[in-house]
Symmetry: C2
Subunit: 367 residues, 2 copies
């Protein structure tokens, strides 16, 4: 096998709490009692997947905890099976903390999760790279959390719920971007919280009826988010900021880029802070992960979509392990030119997250 061809970075791996009790050592007394009595009690949008959310075959060997809760089993069952160099950890079912009514509880949970991640996962193996989970409803507290964890050598990004009742380009959120840029960390969003808690909307016309309908339409929130970030000038204000749209697919990007560019040509007088076409900001600042990549019956169509997007550095492979719609790295991608495939499978993530995967010695040492 040629050198480099077997490298792989997985940009969306869900590491789970085995039990809410795992957080108790990291919570202040008041919230510790709450969690003891009521569990995490996080908001939920109320859409139930008919196939469940977690792969039942991903339950750890010893039967303790649920899928994704054991570092050793996750490495064995997933990373070693597919020869994955690094897994970017994204937590599991906890991001709706940003949609809690009480920002103090949300902040306490985020802090506890970050401590738990560092002790349970990041110390376990350097192949795990962590996301700082933040409560986006309290940007000042979120910025503090980012500055606390930013210097940690295994931390590679900031992660927050994509569900929100405010669009992420708005000034309210800028302290988050300021802190992230300061530490050279991308800010990532992950879907699933749309319609939960303080984010009651799921579409511009209200709430879908069932899980499939809800899941089908989640990428429209990503379109709205990217539109807001660009139009509000976030990437002029924070020129080094990168933004990762995890688990939303990518075939909606050509439409969004073209429509934004067309409108910008006619309407740009209202956004004088923008200095280039919206699509140029998108190509420079937005990253997407592959799972669940769209699967047209003609796989050449995905290649055409990638050509329309015109930014081969934007796309990063992800498996979404251990979720129901997991993508097998050996099967998920359509036939792609070698250089593009290499970029998607590891090079783009290695560059964005500054991972030492392209130095053979370092990778070997990290195993």
């Amino acid at each position: 096998m040629p050198a480099g061809s077997s490298k792989l970075i997985d940009a969306d791996v869900h590491n789970a709490l085995a039990s809410p009790c795992d957080l108790l050592p990291f919570l202040p007394a008041y919230w510790r009692e709450e969690v003891k009595q009521r569990g995490l009690n996080l908001p939920h949008a109320g859409y139930i997947s008919p196939v469940g959310v977690l792969r039942q075959d991903a339950v750890p060997d010893d039967g303790e905890g649920g899928p994704g809760s054991s570092p050793a089993f996750l490495i064995k069952d997933h990373m070693d099976r597919y020869n994955i160099d690094f897994a970017i950890l994204t937590g599991s079912g906890v991001l709706t903390l940003s949609l809690l009514n009480d920002p103090d509880y949300a902040n306490a949970l985020a802090s506890a999760l970050n401590e738990w991640q560092a002790q349970t996962w990041l110390e376990y193996s350097p192949r795990f790279r962590g996301s700082i989970i933040i409560n986006h409803s309290d940007p000042a507290a979120a910025a503090k959390e980012i500055r606390k964890w930013g210097p940690h050598p295994s931390i590679v990004q900031v992660l927050m719920a994509s569900g929100s009742n405010r669009l992420f380009g708005q000034r309210f959120f800028h302290p988050i971007y300021e802190a992230a840029e300061e530490h050279g960390l991308p800010v990532a969003i992950h879907p699933g919280s749309e319609g939960s808690g303080t984010a009651p909307n799921v579409t511009p016309s209200g709430r879908p009826t069932r899980y499939m309908e809800w899941h089908n339409i989640l990428p429209t929130n990503y379109m709205a988010t990217i539109n807001s970030l660009v139009c509000e000038g976030v990437f002029e204000k924070y020129p080094k900021l990168r933004f990762v749209a995890i688990e939303g697919g990518l075939a909606w990007l050509p439409h969004l880029m073209w429509r934004m560019d067309k409108n910008y040509k006619a309407l740009r007088s209202s956004t004088p802070w923008l200095r280039k076409l919206p699509s140029e900001y998108i190509r420079e600042h937005i990253y997407v992960t592959t799972q669940p990549i769209e699967e047209p019956s003609n796989p050449a169509h995905i290649l055409q979509i990638l050509e329309m997007i015109g930014a081969p550095h934007m796309v990063m492979f992800s498996s979404d392990y251990p979720h129901w719609d997991f993508d097998n790295p050996k099967m998920a991608l359509p036939p792609l030119p070698k250089e593009l495939k290499e970029r998607i499978l590891w090079r783009n993530a290695a560059q964005l997250y500054r991972l030492p995967v392209d130095e053979e010695a370092t990778v070997a040492a990290s195993r």
Copy 2:
């Protein structure tokens, strides 16, 4: 010029009231007094276009009324200039009546607009074809209005605001589809009401800040609408129903079709009423109009998108006259194969709306 090559149907032409007073003869006494004192007083989302919404060069010759308000001038300035056989009338700035708090006022306005359209436009020329404007917030009243106007020889569709606080697939709206199907009329939505009145949301994450940002993101509501119509089984319940998504572009369709199909394969147990892939319902039941068609710098990309959609009958030319983002029928479309171009410029609309444009004699007589 070869026979047939110069035919043209414009599927989105905005015929305007010269004044709210035009409606007074058609309103019941109570609402007549209201309109006299306060004008139409329709809800507005509060986003102001920096270039205005109407083309100032489309003000009628005599200076009376605004752009689109004179049947004679609209024929001269638009239809004769571009040799347009038929214009599908879609009203102007009135669809937000569906987002009024008071359904009685909305019903009265819709009825008055339909009377005004018949007398002022449909009687003026058979080249005008009308849309029954309905208040979608009172489906029983809307169905009555559809049954009243359905038999009119120049009526070709039902038209409603795309803005809503409920998704259009839900049972609440089914009386509208029942009446439309009964009369063989497509149901059309037109954007611009998103965020107005009783439809407070514009995105899953709240309201955009400015007009451009709002306008950029409107097609996501079309995605949510089509997703809802398909998932709720509207096209199984009303198999002859056709649905027209006016003025929303089309390059978002491949993503939506692929994502819906992929999810359906895994999750279809929750929608047992569906009997084929979501994309098949879309290809069979959804129509879109071209303006504002996306404009990639490489025009071949639009042809690729049309191939991905794989339904050459779905797309109908529209100009959006006299709105600011009007598309000139001679310039708006990228280079297309002859048969596809003919379909888009007139054949698809002629079939959907049953217009006699392919019989030379009838067209000549109608002029």
